[in-house]
Symmetry: C2
Subunit: 193 residues, 2 copies
């Protein structure tokens, strides 16, 4: 199985001194079930939903040959919240991306994460609900992590001690645990197996 | 500093149970000098020089905004050797990629690695010399790793125990050490600092 992770700096794992991010930690654990697992990290710093929309198809198609089982995880929205992209625009981008990607591969959407600035954090939290609704309408699995991360002191503490947005190894490790423990993730990663 | 690593499955780190590959291990060590270091892994399994040539510009440009120091490391050629791409074609692709990339960013080319099948390994070794000559002609730094890896029993042993091409954590760890200890790498990564 080959999984593309498409999104922003949180997908890239920016700020993690281990250079694994949550995606590397999740892959490391899932490999026990699938020794042949390959991951492609397609997170780009500062990417908004609009930027993801323009590039995801080319980058994913190159990495997922039709003869091998491929899957796609998306995670974006925080930069839309920071840059005050109109919510309707973010949701239209998400719907377009997820509808097309779902027609070709099993797709999972992970919701936005909390960041330090309070106004952008509040907008990110609202996006969490709105993106869940979009995914519900499309029948795409949605993995919400915002509230669970807020309850984890290490996430905002590390982000605040860093650049205000990105945690360190503790935060990314906690996010990986949240993902791995999620019934949404478990159902998705084992489906079709 | 943001570094794009562009190439094939060896850049991706395919087969590494740690999901770091040599690039993750190199980044982890270099971060001591540059806490803000970001890495983008653009290795794709089975990519030949021709496939790298068609995609590198789009993928790198999206990840290296002009206002932030960006660099590019290329590593490909093994799949050209496996698929018996004519040497002249591989060299023409490499020259075109490296000439254009060098005009925009500091670029380093890492040579091909040894693989288990003897005929493809011999072709890969010849490419090593030819690619070094291309880089010499362009004034681009070339980091040869083939001979050093051949002297490291773990590389071919792990590859042979796996899929015949990709090592495990030991081989990728050794490759990272070879890179970090190389005067070519050291001169390149500290230049302009």
């Amino acid at each position: 199985m080959r999984i593309c992770f498409v999104g922003d700096s949180m997908v890239n794992g920016t700020g993690d001194p281990e250079f694994l991010g949550w995606t590397g930690r999740v892959l490391r654990r899932e490999r026990h079930r699938r020794p042949e697992l390959t991951g492609y990290n397609l997170g780009i710093r500062r990417d908004t939903s609009g930027q993801v929309r323009t590039r995801w198809r080319d980058e994913v198609t190159r990495r997922l040959p039709t003869e091998i089982e491929g899957r796609v995880v998306f995670s974006f929205g925080v930069n839309d919240a920071v840059q005050e992209v109109p919510v309707a625009e973010t949701l239209a981008n998400a719907a377009a991306i997820l509808a097309e990607a779902s027609s070709r591969w099993p797709v999972l959407m992970m919701g936005p994460v909390p960041i330090v600035p309070e106004d952008a954090r509040a907008r990110s939290r609202r996006l969490d609900d709105e993106l869940a609704a979009v995914c519900g309408g499309l029948g795409a699995p949605y993995l919400a992590v915002f509230d669970a991360l807020l309850e984890t002191p290490v996430w905002l503490a590390e982000a605040g001690a860093g650049d205000g947005a990105h945690p360190g190894a503790g935060g990314y490790g906690r996010l990986a645990e949240i993902v791995l423990a999620s019934p949404v993730w478990q159902a998705w990663i084992t489906s079709g197996a």
